[in-house]
Every structure is written in C-alpha cells, then in structure tokens.
Subunit: 297 residues, 2 copies
C-alpha cells in the first residue's frame, strides 16, 4: 500500500500574502506532494498549511518551506496573538495511510537534522518524536516564546535536539514532531471579554482538569472585537468534538454568553465529521463507510 | 473520467435473511460493481441495497437482482409497513461521477426493457425517467399498492411503460427511475402513538405544505413499540437535513414528545454530513474539501 504522510506546518506570518504564498509554494508543484489547504489569521498572525504526500517528498517540501520562513519572517518584528518560538513554529508529521507513528517519528528526525544544518536553526522534537517526556507537550516547548528562547536554552533541560544551542537571531527555533491527526477548532463567543474565554478554556482543557484530549486558550480577536476559545483536540476518538463544543456552550451560559460562530483550521477527519452529525441527528453511530462522496458534473 | 452510477434497489423482503442474501448476491463479485451497503427492517419488511459501478455492469446486476426478487418474493403472502407495488419495488439509478441524469434515464430505460421481457414484469418509469408528469412522483405510482395494481392498470393513465398490462401474479410491478441522491432517514419518537408521527409527517412534507424536498410518512414500529417518522429527503442541497430533524423536534414538542433516535437507510452524501456538522458546530460552512479521509494501520 502506498504510504501517505500528512504535514501540518505552522508559520508565524498571517498577514503578508506574498510571503505566505512563497512559503506555501514549497508544497506546490512537487511530485508526490499535494497541498490540501492553507489558512491564515490576521489576529493570530499565523498560517497553517496542510499537505499530504509520499514521506520523503513531503519531508523535502517541509525543509524548503521552513527555509522560506527562516528567510522571510523576522520574529523581532512579528507580533500576533498566537504563542510562537519560531518563524517556522511547529511542523508535525502525521501518519495517514500505509505508515505508522514510528515512521512519522523517523521523518521528523530526518527533517530536523536537515533544517538544523542547512539553516543553522535549533530544533526541538516534540510529541511522539520527543527525546524526553518533559518535551512532549508543545505548550511546554513553547513556553517563554521567541523572546524567552535564549534564556530557556541556557537550561540544560531545554538544549535543542538538533542545531545550535542558541536561537536563530530572526527565526528563533522550530518544534518538529510526530502526532496523530488533530482538530484545530476555534470558537468565537458573543462577548469581547477575553477573561470569559480564558475561564472557559481553563475549564475544558486537560491541563486544568478538563477533557483528556483538549488543549485550549482564551484569546481576544481585535479584528472581530470578540473573545475566542482556541482549541486543539488531540484525539477526537477519545474526546468527541461535539462534547467539547457543548461544554463550551454550557460554560459560556454561566456568563450569559453564547457561541457566535466556530472556525476550523486546516482539515478535519471524516470520522470526526460523521461522529458530530450522528450525535446531533441522534443516530446511534455513523460510520465513514456510510458516507458517499458524490461529485456532480 | 470513469463513469460511476449508483443504484439503490428496494426489495419487499426484510425478514428472510437467506432470500435477502440471494438478492444481494447479484451485486457481489461482479466486475465493475461494488456493493456498498444493504439494510433490512423487520417492520417495514423491506431491504434497501446500495451499489455503485460502471453503468452497464450495474444495470446487469440490477437486472439479476430483480430476477432473484421475482423468483423469491410472493407479495400475496408479504405484509409489511412500507407501501409497495412489487417484489422488486423501486430501483432508481443515480449519476455520481462522470455521468449525468440523461445517462441515468437511459440506463433506467434499458433496465426496464430487459426485466420486462425477461421476467414478464410490468414496469413504471418514475422521477426523471417518467414518461409523463403524473408518473414522476413515486407515491403516485405506488398508490393502491400491490393489492390495487390490477385495477390501476385498467386506467389508461396507468398503463405500464414496459411489459405486460397486468401485474405479475406474485411480483406485482417495479418502478424504475433516475434521480439525484436521496437521503432515507427515519426518526423514532418517544411515543408509540402513530397518529403523532402521522401528524408530524404531514407538517413537514412537501405534499401538505411542508419543506420542498421532503417526503414523509408516519408509521408504527411493532418491534420497538414506537412511532416513526419515515423521511425521504430528495435534495439535501435545497432542504438541509438538520432543518428537517429540527422541524420534527419542534413539531413533536407540541405533543410533549421528543426524538428517541434516528436511523439512516443506505448511504448519505459527504456534503450532507458536513452541512449537518457545520450547522450544529456553528461553522459558517464546511466544504467536503476540508474533510480528510484517514485510515490508521
């Protein structure tokens, strides 16, 4: 069976369309790689690119994209809502078909070695690719952000896995990892009070006693003058998407607040969509095999 | 582009597993045809088989399946909740990829001609394949059911399109047609009062002033001792599935009744699932292109 790996690369530029296109170009017109989606957010000042492909080709595309980000993005001038340590901030590989997590880990390490030597870029391996348990969680790797990186690297616990032991002057460092498919899902509230979004995020996320597979932040979106709960759902098979959305709705009610709208970043697995529909339609279950892809001519 | 047609064949046997398998066998192990799903209901006493394939191969499979139904099912002894005129009751073709409605109509006519001559079976063409406007609506074609078929055929307006001008003694007649993908969706209520299900069905269906693309019946399910609203949604792009489900919920409330569970018969188009998830998650939209089919090894 053909091996298909996914790469969901996060870059710290969501405003300059020309730079975004140059980074995305690394995933375009490349044999064995398909650019599926890229979406940028002005407030987050961040672009998420989703591509799939044959592992080696996808690795080479990621290396080029990271190179473009190092060249084009200067974090000393970059400001945005979203936490970041690097121009190319986070680059995970996800095994989709015909390959497993071990192969994704190997691909992450290869990519890390290549970009570290080619761009003099310090690399942290994270999640399944992490070199130590305390480096698994991306939030811990990123704590202190770009501005705190030089000090962080002086701590022996936070030596980079590859590359120089000090931050790249303009591009910081990059977290490269291997993980299962994740759903990046933002919920905008009917309030501009970011404290409410933060309180809800604390209630639903794993780190504060919430759902097992939820990471969440409360953010203020200047573009919309509204508060947002920004969510990463790391395993929708354990913590269902509808459960998280309904938990946000329930918690928001305590403040007389509702959900204004939601936003999906990147792609969502078919089974997660089917599980969501099944819950609200009160179907006992809805298997991906019952879903028909139709295309009218 | 490869042409892919779908066939959703409805047979008036939902209880005798051996007969069901013999009918389904016509769609199995046949080059160019894939049996996607078949589901039977004891109360309805009906089986719905969903298959896709290259048009000519799918036509030949349908001809064989209809032949098996004519041989195996005797409507003089068959009783079930679901209205029916034939052993092979309804056989629509649906253009999925690389083909259009005109080709589905042509395929329906070829199938009709073949089964009429091979099994001495009267055939009504319906929906897009209908030979006259009054024969488009399946409910009109089926009115009077198997038991009223001999009388119906004496009406010049209801001469069959193919085959003899009188019912097959045990297998009645078959409606063969061409249509767009349809969602067959049943909603079981938290009551066993079939009058409530019938009242809700009348409220939501097009024929009584309800939603444009909804056909609905109220039925009593002895197996579950509960009332069911049985729905055909003929165009989910015009009348969204969530809208129908929420309308049923709203109407049921008037009787102090809720939705116990739902049931999907056959398959559901990906975009209909995505539209459903988008509504309840409050995503402005969710395109099928944002849905990723993942398969873990």
């Amino acid at each position: 069976m053909e091996k298909i790996m996914e790469c969901v690369a996060n870059f710290s530029e969501g405003r300059d369309q020309e730079k975004i296109e140059q980074i995305a170009d690394a995933f375009r017109n490349r044999h064995g790689v398909k650019l599926l989606d890229y979406s940028s957010d002005l407030d987050h000042n961040r672009t998420v690119i989703t591509a799939i492909g044959e592992p080696a080709a996808l690795r080479d595309a990621a290396v080029d994209a990271i190179g473009a980000a190092v060249r084009l993005i200067d974090l000393r001038q970059q400001h945005g809502l979203h936490p970041r340590i690097g121009a190319a901030d986070v680059v995970p590989f996800i095994p989709l078909r015909g390959c497993d997590t071990a192969e994704a880990v190997a691909l992450a390490r290869e990519t890390a070695a290549l970009v570290a030597s080619r761009y003099q870029l310090p690399i942290y391996l994270y999640e399944q690719a992490a070199s130590a348990p305390h480096r698994q969680n991306l939030a811990d790797v990123r704590r202190g952000q770009f501005e705190g990186l030089a000090e962080k690297m002086r701590d022996p616990l936070w030596q980079p896995d590859f590359g120089p032991a000090e931050p790249h002057p303009s591009a910081g460092a990059t977290a490269i990892g291997a993980r299962l498919p994740l759903i990046a899902f933002n919920i905008e509230l009917t309030t501009n009070d970011v404290e409410i979004a933060r309180a809800i995020a604390r209630t639903i996320r794993h780190s504060n006693g919430g759902y097992r597979c939820v990471k969440a932040l409360g953010l203020y979106l200047a573009q919309h003058d509204s508060a947002q709960v920004s969510i990463n759902l790391t395993d929708y098979t354990q913590t269902a998407l509808y459960r998280v959305v309904e938990a946000v709705r329930t918690e928001a009610r305590r403040y007389g607040v509702g959900i204004r709208c939601s936003e999906l970043i990147g792609l969502i697995p078919l089974q997660a969509v089917a599980d969501t529909a099944a819950y609200y339609l009160q179907l006992p279950s809805l298997s991906a095999a019952s879903v028909l892809e139709t295309h009218f001519e």
